[in-house]
């Protein structure tokens, strides 16, 4: 059963008013419309929630592996095409990271307890301050770039940065009561690195557009 007018209407070749007028006196169209309505309402009923409790954990694992893969591939490419200011910021950050990281490694080898002592703590705090300062400068550069991004992308980045900032804040609070704890400092370093990567990504996004 079919009606030419109905087909034209479905294909957008007849406007709604003309079709409605026609449908009032065409039984075939009325029947087709009724069937369509039932079909559409049945189809909407297929949009039921699907339970997948462990799926995010699986996705997160795949994203982490992908991130590591990209980091390996991307480091050389990034060095070749990045903005000169970015290169400078990256160089400072890399130097500080290597310093802090190297220090932590040496410290862990020498100290089983995970506690930082006297002069070591002073040095770590100094390097951390420099690292934080470098990130602040990068943040200053990235803020106007972020404002120019697509709204949804900007919201995603803002959300990511807020989460990282909250982690940093938690680590810093914990360090106030336990400043010599190398483990917390390592968490803090990871959060700071995450923030740096996010900021670099924002600046890169915008420079790609330009």
């Amino acid at each position: 059963m079919n009606c030419e007018v109905y087909e034209k209407y479905e294909l957008g070749k007849t406007d709604e008013q003309t079709f409605e007028k026609h449908a009032k006196r065409c039984q075939t169209c009325q029947h087709l419309l009724q069937q369509d309505e039932t079909l559409m309402s049945l189809a909407k009923g297929l949009n039921q929630p699907v339970r997948a409790p462990l799926l995010w954990a699986k996705i997160e694992n795949r994203l982490r592996s992908e991130k590591q893969r990209q980091r390996r591939i991307g480091l050389t490419k990034l060095a070749q095409r990045s903005h000169p200011l970015l290169r400078l910021a990256a160089a400072v950050i890399l130097a500080v990271t290597v310093g802090v990281g190297g220090y932590f490694m040496l410290k862990t080898e020498g100290q089983e307890s995970g506690l930082l002592a006297g002069s070591a703590l002073e040095r770590v705090e100094k390097l951390e301050r420099e690292y934080v300062q470098a990130i602040r400068e990068l943040e200053k550069e990235a803020t106007p770039h972020m404002a120019q991004l697509d709204m949804e992308l900007m919201l995603l980045y803002r959300d990511r940065l807020e989460t990282i900032d909250a982690q940093i804040e938690r680590c810093q609070e914990a360090l106030e009561t336990n400043p010599a704890n190398a483990h917390i400092r390592r968490y803090l370093l990871t959060a700071l690195q995450d923030k740096k990567e996010t900021l670099v990504e924002i600046v890169r996004q915008q420079s790609d557009v330009l």
Partner: protein, 160 residues
Amino acid sequence: MAAFEVIYRQFKQPLLNLGLRMLGRQEDAEDALQVAFVKLYRGIGNFRFGANLHTYLFRIMTNVCFDMLKKRKRTHADGIETIEMAHNPQTDLRLQLAEAIQALPERMRACFVLFAVQEFKQDEIAEILNMKLGTVKATIFHAKARLRTLFSDSQNEVRS
């Protein structure tokens, strides 16, 4: 990673549902969503073509589903046989519809699922599937015509 978790929480259900309707099995839908997220991660830098994230995600997911279907190399070309085989007035009509959707050709299935199940507008479907609006309209029209047959047959059998 936190940003991706936000996207996941927001779009998990419709994307999984699309995967399920396209691929027919939940394990495959979950696999498709994992691949889609990796693709999203890789391509997030390219996301600036004026489309919204919703459309962009569905485009990735449908492409992943098409790839998976290609790999599966299924043999039923137009699925009419499956519609008839699945046809049983005693079973739930919705279940029959789900099976009948599985039997539609891939592009037609994607058009119908996006339109009728996910309630996308036709121009959005055209963008997601990279098709012309007229083609989308015609495809949905033919999908409905095929599915309507199943539905009317089923009603007739219930009556008789």
